[in-house]
Symmetry: C2
Subunit: 190 residues, 2 copies
């Protein structure tokens, strides 16, 4: 698939068919992730590929808990209608875990240890694009309590769970979401 | 260009030819950026496209100052040999600026306001891939003092400079950098 087609046709998919995903496709997606750039080529990412239903159910339950908490904190009533079923319905959930020590020179800055997160995000974007090219749907999920996710997935405390990526065959074509025109986002210094 | 080819052939380019980049290509690259996913589709990015030499020179001088500081802090002597000339030689430097208010639900978490940074990083990865497909080289640069960069680029204090992306025709083909095998990075819960 053409790179621009992949970038512009990718959508967040929140309804998945039950059919499993070929292991070879997941490997292809993770290889794409691993080609992302990172500070000093530290490659600060690891991947946990979750297909066990009971583990997905635990993640779902924790996300529901977070959602209830967020509704209370934010007062955003519309959040009630934000369904999280995709976390247990997606055939595959990949946790992307970052290593804060592999962050390059920004580890010495007071605002530091950001580089490894940005690198993990670049790896995730590669995953979403690769999934799109392999006729799979995906959604990038970031709202969870890191401590709880560490417990569920047995992630050591010196590593940071960055995001969950749900992958599977779309149950239906996800709707397009509008974008702001680029000229309104851009300033030129020339 | 095929998406997997773009992902796997992209390299960090640190030597640029002097020739300017077509404005249409820069627009195409920024459009690709704007198709990245973001929390609640907040699209938390803005772009400052810098072609003015004196502005690039200011960025370069600030980066040199940061480098000297980092060498002192880290004791990493090899940093002396890490050249920063690409910051003033690249025909175009794009500053990607994020809006911490456009971060989704994580703004209520104590570790919060991460989502908008991850989204900006996804936008940047799209930029690098788009540049690759347009036969341009690019490098993602994150090491700067945010306060100083705000001053140089007139970025308000409530916005966060995330990264600089240098873009231009490569002066020579950048070297390939090895990757760890994916099977060593992956755990399965099945």
């Amino acid at each position: 698939m053409d790179i621009f087609t992949a970038i512009e046709s990718r959508r967040s998919c929140r309804e998945f068919a039950a059919e499993p995903v070929d292991a070879a496709k997941i490997e292809r997606i993770l290889e794409a992730a691993a080609w992302a750039p990172s500070p000093l080529n530290t490659q600060p990412w690891k991947f946990i590929v979750i297909t066990a239903q009971e583990k997905k159910d635990e993640i779902f339950a924790e996300a529901e808990r977070c959602k209830a908490w967020a509704i209370e904190q934010s007062g955003w009533k519309w959040l009630h209608s934000y369904g999280l079923d995709f976390l247990k319905q997606a055939p595959v959930v990949v946790a992307v875990v970052g290593d804060p020590q592999k962050t390059g020179v920004d580890m010495f800055q007071t605002e530091g240890n950001v580089g490894y997160k940005l690198a993990c995000a670049a790896a995730i974007q590669n995953m979403l694009l690769a999934a799109q090219a392999l006729d799979l749907g995906s959604v990038w999920f970031t709202f969870f309590d890191r401590g709880e996710l560490r417990k569920i997935l047995d992630i050591p405390t010196d590593k940071t769970p960055i995001s969950l990526v749900c992958i599977g065959t779309p149950a239906q074509a996800p709707a397009a979401v509008p974008r702001k025109p680029v000229e309104k986002l851009t300033t030129y210094i020339d």
